[in-house]
C-alpha cells in the first residue's frame, strides 16, 4: 500500500513536540501522496493543530523533519496554503481584496488588473461573485469560510492544509461547504491534508484517515483506507455499501479505542508503518 517515495508529496519523518515533562507526540511518521486527500482524526490535546502548523511551516518540530517534494521544509511557503479554523480574513479588506492579497503575493509581477481578475475568478469558483465587494463583517460564517477557501486555492498550492475548517459552522452550511471542497479538490486534483473530528466529513473527503490516540504521547494508531467510490455525495453517502462499517470503525476508535490504545505502544507496533485497516 505504501507508494514509492517518488509519488509522495509530503513525507513526515519522526517529528516530535515536547514540553518539559510532557511529550505531546514523538516519532510520528506518515506521508501524503500526490493528489491524495488525507484526514487526521483525533481528540483535542493529541497535537493535531501542532502537526498541521508544522506542515504549514508556522511551527517547527522538536525532532524529525518534514519533506515536501523531497526537500526539507524550513518555514511557510506559497506551495502550502492553509485554510484556517477561524477563517482569518482581514476585516479591513473586502472579500475580493482578501483574495487579491494572496494572488498578489503569489504573482508579485502582476498588474492590479490581473490580480483583481484572478481574485474575481477565485471567488466565482466558490460562488461568491455577488459578495465580492463586501467586508467580512457583512458576510455570514459560511461565506467567510468560502472566501478563505478561495484565498487558499487562488495561489494554486501543491498542498492544501485545513485545520477543522468547518467546525465553527452550523450543520447545514458545513454540509454544503464539505461538498464544495470535495468538488473543488477533485476538479483540481489537489493534494490535501485536513484535521477534523467530524467522522462523516472524513469519510466524504478522505482517501486515507489517520486515527490518532489521545495525548500525551499521541501516535497514529492505525490508518484507515477509505475505499468508497468517488464522486461521493453527502445525500447518498450513507447508502453506499461499506459506509456503515467504515463509520462504525472510526466511531469506535474515537469513543473507546483512542483512549484504551493511548500511552505506550503495543509490542510489535512500528511507528513508521502503523497497521492499515480497510473496513469497507
Amino acid at each position: 500500500m505504501t507508494p514509492p517515495p517518488a509519488q509522495r508529496l509530503v513525507s513526515v519523518e519522526g517529528i516530535a513536540r515536547r514540553f518539559p515533562g510532557l511529550t505531546v507526540f514523538e516519532d510520528l511518521w506518515f506521508h501524503v501522496a500526490r493528489g491524495e486527500f488525507v484526514c487526521l482524526v483525533g481528540h483535542s490535546g493529541c497535537g493535531k493543530t501542532t502537526i498541521l502548523n508544522i506542515l504549514a511551516g508556522l511551527d517547527t518540530p522538536d525532532a524529525g523533519v518534514v519533506l515536501v517534494d523531497g526537500k526539507e521544509i524550513s518555514g511557510p511557503s506559497l506551495d502550502r496554503a492553509v485554510i484556517f479554523q477561524g477563517h482569518a480574513l482581514m476585516p479591513w479588506l473586502s472579500a475580493l481584496e482578501n483574495v487579491a492579497f494572496a494572488v498578489s503575493c503569489r504573482n508579485p509581477g502582476w498588474s492590479r488588473g490581473q490580480v483583481r481578475d484572478a481574485a474575481r475568478a477565485a471567488l466565482a469558483r466558490v460562488g461568491l461573485s455577488q459578495a465580492a465587494e463586501r467586508k467580512p463583517a457583512q458576510l455570514s460564517g459560511g461565506m467567510k469560510q468560502r472566501v478563505g477557501i478561495a484565498r487558499a486555492l487562488a495561489i494554486s498550492p501543491k498542498l492544501l492544509l485545513m485545520d477543522e475548517p468547518f467546525s465553527a459552522l452550523d450543520a447545514l452550511t458545513r454540509g454544503t461547504l464539505q461538498e464544495e471542497v470535495s468538488r473543488l479538490v477533485t476538479e483540481a486534483g489537489q493534494t490535501a491534508f485536513m484535521i477534523t473530528h467530524d467522522v462523516d466529513e472524513a469519510i466524504l473527503l478522505a482517501d486515507r484517515i489517520l486515527l490518532m490516540t489521545n495525548g500525551p504521547q499521541a501516535r497514529v494508531a492505525e490508518i484507515v483506507h477509505n475505499t468508497l467510490p468517488r464522486p461521493r455525495e453527502r445525500a447518498n453517502l450513507h447508502h453506499m455499501p461499506g459506509y456503515h462499517a467504515l463509520r462504525d470503525h472510526i466511531l469506535d476508535f474515537l469513543i473507546t479505542r483512542s483512549r484504551t490504545l493511548a500511552g505506550a505502544p503495543p509490542p510489535g507496533w512500528d511507528a513508521r508503518t502503523p497497521p492499515v485497516v480497510v473496513p469497507a
Binding site: A56, G57, L58, G75, P76, S77, L78, R80, A81, V82, F84, G86, A88, M90, P91, W92, L93, F101, A102, C105, R106, K135, P136, A137, I155
Partner: protein, 283 residues
Amino acid sequence: MGAKADPWRAALLSVLLLAALLAAWEWAVKGGGGPAGPAVDEELAALLSPAAAAGGQTAMPAPSDIGARLLELLSDPFHRRGTNDQGIGIQIAWSLGRVAAGFTLAALVAIPLGFLIGMSPLLNAALNPYVQVLRPVSPLAWMPLALYTIRDSSISSIFVIFICSVWPMLINTAFGVATVRREWLNVARTLEAGRWKTAIRVILPAAAPTILTGMRISIGIAWLVIVAAEMLVGGTGIGYWVWNQWNNLSIADIVIAILLIGLVGLLLDRMLGLVQRWVAWQE
C-alpha cells in the same frame, strides 16, 4: 444611564442652561453690583488698567460686552498693525502652525519607532524605562533646556509640542502593533508576504485604529500645551495674545480666547475622529 437621551430635549436643556448662566452673569455684573461696589479694588485697578480705574467700575465684562467685543474681533480677524496688534485669526494661525509642525514631527518619529518597538519585544523592554520616566514630565519643563540649546523661541515651542505629543503616539503605536492578531500574521507568513508587505498591508491597517487613538490624545495635549508655551515664550500665538490681554486687563478678550481655544481644540479632535472612522474596521 441606560436609555439614550432624546437629542432635541438635550439640546434644548443645553441652550436653557447657557441662557440662565449668561443672564445670571449679566445681572451680577451690571445690575446687582449693589452696595458691594466695584469688584476690583480701586488701587489694584489703578495699577492694572487706567480704564478700570477711571470708570471706577468692575473690570469683569458682562456677556453683552463680550459679545460685542467678539463681533469686533471677528470682523477683522487677520489684520496686522505692528507686532503687538494682530488679528485673533492670525494669532490662532500661529498657534495652529506650531502645533502642526510639532505634531507632524512627533508622528514621523513616534509611528515608525512605535512600529519597531511593537514588533521587537527586546526593543520594547529596553526602551520602556525611558518612556516611563520621560512621559510624565510636564512638557514645559523642557522649555528652558530647549531655549538654551535651540536659541530660538519659536522653534523651542515647536520642540515642546513635539515632546508632549510623541509619547501617546509612541505608546499606542507600539501597543497596536504588538497586539495584531497572530492569525493575520500567520496568513501573511503562509503567503510569504515579506516583512515590508506584511508591515504595510497587514500590521498598519490592523493597528491603525489604535494609532489614531494615540494621535487624538496627542493633538489634545499639544493644543493644551501650546497656550502655556506661548505665554512663556511670547511674540505671537493665541497663548501670547491671552497673556497680552491679561496685561491690558481686557477680561472680555480673555474670555473670548478661552472660547476660541476650546472650539479649535474640538475641531482638531473631530478632524482626527473622522480619520479614525475612516480607518476603523469591525469584525
